[in-house]
Every structure is written in structure tokens, then in C-alpha cells.
Subunit: 205 residues, 2 copies
Amino acid sequence: MNDEKVYAETLKHIHRLIVQDGLAPGDKLPSERELAERLGVGRSSVREALRALEFLGLIETRRGEGTYMCEIGSHQLVDLLAMFLLENERAKADLAETKWLVERLLLELFCQRQGEEAIGRLEKTVRQKPIDFERFFQTIAEAAGNYLLVRIWRALSAFAAAFAPKPSLADSFYDQLLAALKKRDSAEAIAVWEAHRPWPLSKKS
Amino acid sequence: MNDEKVYAETLKHIHRLIVQDGLAPGDKLPSERELAERLGVGRSSVREALRALEFLGLIETRRGEGTYMCEIGSHQLVDLLAMFLLENERAKADLAETKWLVERLLLELFCQRQGEEAIGRLEKTVRQKPIDFERFFQTIAEAAGNYLLVRIWRALSAFAAAFAPKPSLADSFYDQLLAALKKRDSAEAIAVWEAHRPWPLSKKS
DNA sequence: ACCATTAGGTGGTCAGACCAGTATGGAATT
DNA sequence: AATTCCATACTGGTCTGACCACCTAATGGT
């Protein structure tokens, strides 16, 4: 019945353990040997599961010390994925497009949910020349109120940064966008967005 | 001097091997034992490297057959990250919203790229009562021409299924949507979408 | 109080064994 | 000659036990 691979099961078990114990970034996981014994599996299976988690950027192993939870969105996975993504032109195009679309979504959400303090932080970012697009959009993303979408954006952004130059946009773009956002006018914001960062929404395939 | 971990080095070696040999999706990798011998490392280290690649969604292992390259993108990755992210109520709401937004995006892309055969498949799906939303949207997603976005949608969809019942929509919704899609009228399609599957794009937090 | 030593724990790695599937080729059958 | 069937070799999956390098903390002597 249960033909699931042991290392995959182990991965789920470890996940359950993390959730149940409420482990936060920085916390220590049980040792490999203890995990193996508690889960009734071999240490090698535990290690294979941990390896997956490590390369996904969820844990960090320190020789002689132990295994620790770490901040998600780590670069390990970004570098690795980028390494493979680089070999595929199509994937690059899809990534760029997806990033663009998600950013447009975030603009829309921002207009419907933003508070005054978010606008204030945006203005501050814009005053700091040269304007940092990543930083600017990070603020928008956080204020958009959808944490999962922010996560997705961060991942896309990190991937894109791994093998594409940062987009350099004119100051006027930020000014116009900010004006639209202040009015909570999502239609205008999107119009500004599409005018300054056009994406060929037309390719056949 | 070289204090890099063996499984990390092995990972790079395997990548180099894949690039040099020009392995494409579907191609077979050397066996674990052969890799271990060629790279002069233990089989367990090879396995740990492969495990990372597998959970990153880059390779697929089939017991008794071998290890194969698979489509690039992110699926396991998104799955796993989501698994760790979706542990609270807030995340569930974000998931539902994100899924809704991504689906709206896919509708837009579909209108700009769809071919006639995609429309045909949609009509076929609609004729099969009861209409399966997942199946219907799967067709739209694939025809939208952005593989990465499809992957993200699939992950979102899978997770949503775990938390919430499948949305049950009136047949008239599919009819109206199909009519709009036939005309490649993204504005109308989105209008139908928002009318039948409304999402409270207004919550403060 | 200080510092050096030491013992135990931890991750990292390897080798070997065995299991459970699949593929393959040759023998037996038709 | 074509087909079926099965032994065999190969593949991934798993466990065990051993050893290394490293870190920490307790120990013990000064």
C-alpha cells in the first residue's frame, strides 16, 4: 500500500515535526541520528531528505554543530535554479513575463489596500537617488497584503536578478506611478506600468 | 584547501556533465554507481546531490530504470515552499486570492495567444457534464503559453484542493466565458470571471 | 580564576550489503 | 519465423556500521 519512497515520507515527517514544534528561523533541529531513530528509518534517508530541504534554502547544516532552520528565499536555490534555467531560452522568457505579470497584479492590489504609511515609505525610496527598483517594489509588494504573492514575487525577482540586468527606469516613471498610487487609481497605475515596462503580450508561442 | 562539501561538488559535476553532454528533457543520466565511480566519490554523496536536483524538479528517478531529465520550471519547488508557508489561516486566504488572480492572468494571456484547437478542446470539456473546473482551466493554462505560470497555477490549484472544496459553477458561466474567449475579448472574459467568481478585492488587512 | 585537555556529540563520507523493481537477451514453445 | 517466458544483469532504494573532521562543553590541573 505504502509505496512512497522513504526519503519523501521522511521529508513530510520532518516538516510535520517542524510545524508541531513551532520551529522558527534560527532554531535547531534534532540530530540526524536522533531523527533516524525517532522516524524508524536509516540515517541515509534522513540525510537525503535534509539535503532537499537544504538546497531549497529551508535549513542550514553546520558541521560539528547541527542543523538549523534558516530564512526562506535563500540564494542556494536561486543560484542552482538559475544555473539550469540559463540553459533554456524559453524558460527565461517565461520567467521575465511571469515576473512582469505578477508585478502588475501587485500594483492592482496595492491600490485597493494601501495605507498612508506605505505611500510615505515609497516616497522616501524615490527620493533616494538612484532609485532602486527592487526596493521600491518590495515596499509595494509588502503593502499589497498578500504574503504568498509576495513570496512568489521575491522568488521570481531573485531568479531574474541571477541572470538579467536590473531594469533601469527613468525617474519620471516612478513619479507618475507614485501619483497614480496616491490616488488609488489602479487603472492609471497599470497604464503607467505598461507604458514604461512594456511586455510583448502577443507572441504566438 | 578544498573544504567544499562533496555532495555540493558532486552537484556541480553532474550539472557540468549535463551541459557538456547536452542532455535534454527526457534523456537518461548515468547510473548512480557509474557517476560515483567517474567522480571518485561515494554513492551516497551522489544520491544526496541527485535528491536535491529531484526536489528542485530538475530530474526524475524511476526505480529499476534510471534517472531522467525532466521539464524545467518549478513545480516541486513551489509545492514544497508552499507547504511550509501555508500553515496559518492567513495563508489560506492568500492562497485563495492568489489562485484567483493567477487564473485571471491566464485568461488574459489565453485571449492573446490561443489557437483554434484550444477552443475546440474547451468546447469538448464543457460538453462533458458535469463540467470539471480543473480540467477546463488546465486547458486554458496550457494554451496561455507560459509554462512557468502554468506550474505556479498547478501548485496553487493542488493546495487549494487540499483546503477548500472544488468551486461549483453554473453551466451558464462556462458558456459566457467560452463566448468571450472565442472572440479573444479579454476584457469581457475578465468581466464574466469577476461576475461569477467574485473575490473581495477590498479587505484592509 | 584561568587555560589546556579531553570526551562526547554532530555533520560528512564511504563501503558494502541487500531489496525491489525493470530491461534485455536467449531459450523454449508455438 | 514469430512468440512467449524466464534467468540475469542492471537500476534505484534502503540500511548498517564504520571512520573522519569539527565543535562544544565538561573536566582537571595550574
